[in-house]
C-alpha cells in the first residue's frame, strides 16, 4: 500500500523533477480538497485501488506520463471536464486528486 506522500511524489514527478525534491511542489492540502470535491461529484470513483490501477499502472515511467497527457487531452476534447472553484480540469486530473484524497497519510 502506498501512502499520500508517495502519490504526491508521483504527481510531482510528472514535472520531471527529482521526486523527493519536488514532492513539496504539489500542495497536499490543496490536492486533498480538490480530490474531495471530485469524489463528492463522482461517488463511484471512491476506490483508491481502482483509481491507482487506472491512472498509474506499473512503474512511473515516461510512457505512463505520455499516456496520462494523452488522456487529459482526450478528456478535454470529449468534454469530460471537472470544474473546481472555476478551474476547468480534465476528468483524469480530477481523478489524480481523488487518489490523493483517498490515500492515507504516510
Amino acid at each position: 500500500m502506498i501512502d499520500r506522500r508517495q502519490v504526491l511524489a508521483a504527481l510531482a514527478a510528472l514535472a520531471a523533477c527529482p521526486a523527493a525534491a519536488a514532492a513539496a511542489t504539489v500542495d497536499p492540502e490543496g490536492a486533498r480538497r480538490i480530490g474531495d470535491a471530485y469524489l463528492a461529484a463522482h461517488p463511484a470513483a471512491r476506490d483508491a485501488a481502482r483509481l491507482r490501477a487506472a491512472l498509474m499502472p506499473g512503474d512511473w515511467s515516461a510512457a505512463a506520463l505520455a499516456r496520462l497527457r494523452s488522456r487529459v487531452a482526450a478528456d478535454f476534447r470529449a468534454g469530460r471536464v471537472f470544474a473546481y472553484r472555476g478551474w476547468r480540469l480534465s476528468d483524469t486530473e480530477g481523478r489524480l486528486f481523488a487518489l490523493v484524497a483517498l490515500t492515507p497519510n504516510g
Binding site: 510528472l14 511542489t25 504539489v26 497536499p28 490543496g30 490536492a31 478535454f76 472553484r85 478551474w87 476547468r88
Partner: protein, 516 residues
C-alpha cells in the same frame, strides 16, 4: 468664427449649411476631418461645450436595467449619465483609446445567430478601417484572422486546429484620457476650416419631417438658457451616440407618432452592449484567468494592461460555426500584486499537476488574470424606449432595457469551455472562470459600448438605415455611429464606427453632388 455659442445667438436664428451634423463627438470629428476645406458648408450642432457642464450632462439621465434569465435584474441608471459625454469630443472625453477592428466573423451571416450579418464584408471595410486607423494614429489592422506577427512576441502555441487566433488591439492617443492636450487639438482642429461651423450648447430637440414625410425639413434646436433656433441643410447626419440617436428619432414624433424612421417599429430595438466577465476576489481567493504552464514570453497578451499593442484570444469563424456559438474574447494580463488574491493551496496543487501533465517545470508557469467578453446577440426586446419623465428641455428621458437571453449565457459558457479545451489540449495551461450563470448580470462589468439601436439592413423591414447609413424612407437623413451596427462583434466600437463614418462620408459626397 468656427465655434459659436448658440446661447448667445438672437432667438429663432436659422443655421443653414449643405450638410448639418447632429453631434460633434468622435463620429462628428471624423466627418469634420473628411469635409474640412471642401466646397460644401457643414454645420455641427453640439449639445455641449468645450468644457464639461453638469446641467448639459444631466440631459443624459434616464432609467436603465440589465436583465437576463436566471439572474436578478440589475438597476443601471447611473450608466446613462456616467457612460456617455455631452461635450465637444463626445465619448472621446472618457474613452480609453482601445482600437479594434471587428473580426471577419462579425460581418458574416451566421445562420445559428438570428439577424446576424452586415451588408458589407470585413474585406470591403478594409480601406475605411485604414483611414480610421490613420485618423487615430494606430497601425492598420490586417483583414483576416491574424495576429500582430511580431517574432519577438510569440503567439501561444495553441493547437493547430484553426479554432483560436490572437486578435490584435492597439491604443490611440486620441482620447482625453490618454492625452488631454493632444485630444483637445484633435477635437478642435478639424472644425477650424472656413467651411465648417460648430454651434455649441445647441440641443436638437426634434427632427422635423417635411409634409410628405419623405425628407427632413429642419431641426429644432433648444438651449438651456431658453433660446430656440432651427437648422436647415440639404442632408443631415445624426451622430449623437448609440443611445441618443435612437432617442432623438423616437422623440421626433410631431409628424409621425412612432418617430422618424420608425415605420417598421425598429428604432431603439436591438440594443447591444458588451459586458466583461472576470473575477478577482481576495476574500474567496478567486481570480479568473489562466495558469500558463510555460510562461516564457507572454508580452503579446499581457501588455494590454499597460495600453500597449497586444492580442487577445478569439475563436475563429470556423470554431464559432462548429460550436454554434457567438464571438468571444479572452483577455489576459498581469495585475498588481496587491490586487491579486493570495494563492490558495488548491491553486498551488493545480499548477503543479498541470505543469507536470504539460511537461513543464513548475517554475516556468505563471497565473494570469483574464476576463471574457461574449457577444450580445441582436434581440428586439433589448431596447431603448422613451420614459415618462422629461429633461430640462422637455425631451422624454431614456428608458434602457439591456436584455440577455439564455442564448448569450450558453454562448459564454460554451466559449469558456472552448478556450479551456484549446489551451489544455495544446499543453498551454488551465483556465479558471469562477462565475456561475446566476451571477453573470451582477458580477459582470458593463462597457460603454452602445450599439444596434438604428441597425443597418438593406431591407426596411429589418433595419432602420440602409447599407449606406441612410434612414429608410427619408431621403436626406443619415446616421453615423455604433447605433448602425447590426451585430455587436466583440471589440471596442470606436474604430469601427469611425470606419463606417468614413464610408458614409464618401457616400455623402455623391449625395450632395446629386442634390446639387
Amino acid at each position: 468664427m468656427p465655434f459659436i455659442d448658440a446661447r448667445e445667438l438672437p432667438g429663432d436664428s436659422e443655421i443653414v449649411a449643405d450638410l448639418v451634423v447632429i453631434g460633434a463627438g468622435m463620429a462628428g470629428i471624423a466627418i469634420a476631418r473628411e469635409w474640412a476645406g471642401s466646397d460644401r458648408t457643414v454645420a455641427f450642432i453640439e449639445s455641449g461645450g468645450r468644457d464639461f457642464d453638469a446641467a448639459t450632462q444631466d440631459l443624459c439621465k434616464g432609467e436603465a436595467v440589465i436583465s437576463g434569465p436566471d439572474n436578478a435584474d440589475r438597476p443601471f441608471s447611473d450608466h446613462l449619465y456616467q457612460g456617455r459625454r455631452r461635450q465637444l469630443g463626445g465619448s472621446g472625453m472618457i474613452w480609453g483609446g482601445k482600437c479594434v477592428a471587428l473580426d471577419p466573423a462579425d460581418f458574416a451571416k451566421r445562420d445559428w445567430i438570428s439577424r446576424s450579418g452586415w451588408p458589407v464584408t470585413r474585406r470591403q471595410m478594409q480601406p475605411y478601417y485604414d483611414r480610421a486607423s490613420d485618423l487615430l494614429g494606430v497601425p492598420h489592422f490586417p483583414p483576416g484572422e491574424t495576429s500582430l506577427q511580431e517574432p519577438a512576441r510569440p503567439e501561444l502555441p495553441t493547437e493547430g486546429g484553426g479554432r483560436i487566433f490572437s486578435a490584435p488591439r492597439h491604443y490611440s492617443r486620441m482620447s482625453a484620457v490618454n492625452d488631454p492636450e493632444g485630444f483637445d487639438r484633435f477635437r478642435t482642429a478639424p472644425f477650424e476650416a472656413p467651411n465648417i461651423t460648430v454651434w455649441l450648447h445647441a440641443n436638437v430637440t426634434e427632427i422635423k419631417l417635411a409634409q410628405d414625410g419623405r425628407a427632413i425639413e429642419r431641426l429644432d434646436i433648444a438651449c438651456l438658457n431658453g433660446r430656440r433656433h432651427a437648422a436647415r441643410g440639404r442632408a443631415y447626419v445624426l451622430a449623437a451616440g448609440g443611445i441618443e440617436n435612437a432617442r432623438l428619432l423616437l422623440a421626433s414624433n410631431g409628424a409621425e407618432k412612432a418617430g422618424v424612421g420608425n415605420r417598421a417599429d425598429l428604432v431603439g430595438r436591438f440594443f447591444q452592449g458588451h459586458m466583461t466577465y472576470g473575477v478577482t476576489d481576495a476574500q474567496q481567493g478567486l481570480m479568473s484567468g489562466v495558469y500558463v504552464t510555460r510562461a516564457r514570453d507572454l508580452s503579446l497578451y499581457t501588455s494590454g494592461f499597460d495600453n500597449k499593442s497586444h492580442c487577445v484570444l478569439a475563436p475563429t469563424l470556423a470554431a464559432q460555426r462548429q460550436g454554434r456559438l457567438g464571438n468571444a474574447t479572452f483577455t489576459l494580463g498581469r495585475i498588481a500584486p496587491n490586487q491579486r488574491p493570495p494563492v490558495r493551496p488548491e491553486v498551488s496543487a493545480i499548477s503543479a499537476v498541470a505543469s507536470g501533465v504539460d511537461g513543464a517545470a513548475p517554475a516556468e508557469g505563471e497565473q494570469l488574470y483574464g476576463f471574457f467578453m461574449s457577444e450580445h446577440f441582436p434581440n428586439p426586446d433589448s431596447r431603448i424606449t422613451l420614459g415618462s419623465g422629461a429633461d430640462a428641455l422637455g425631451m422624454p428621458r431614456i428608458r434602457l432595457a439591456w436584455r440577455y437571453t439564455a442564448a448569450e449565457w450558453r454562448s459564454l459558457e460554451g466559449q469558456v469551455a472552448a478556450f479551456a479545451r484549446e489551451l489544455a489540449t495544446a499543453g498551454v495551461g488551465r483556465v479558471c472562470f469562477p462565475m456561475e450563470r446566476p451571477q453573470f448580470v451582477a458580477l459582470a462589468n458593463a462597457s460603454r459600448h452602445h450599439m444596434g439601436t438604428t441597425r443597418m439592413h438593406a431591407d426596411p423591414a429589418e433595419g432602420v438605415v440602409d447599407a449606406n447609413s441612410r434612414v429608410h424612407g427619408v431621403s436626406n437623413l443619415y446616421v453615423a455611429g455604433s447605433s448602425v451596427f447590426p451585430t455587436s462583434g466583440i471589440g471596442n466600437p470606436t474604430l469601427t464606427l469611425l470606419a463606417m463614418t468614413m464610408r458614409l462620408s464618401d457616400h455623402l459626397r455623391l449625395h450632395l453632388r446629386r442634390a446639387a
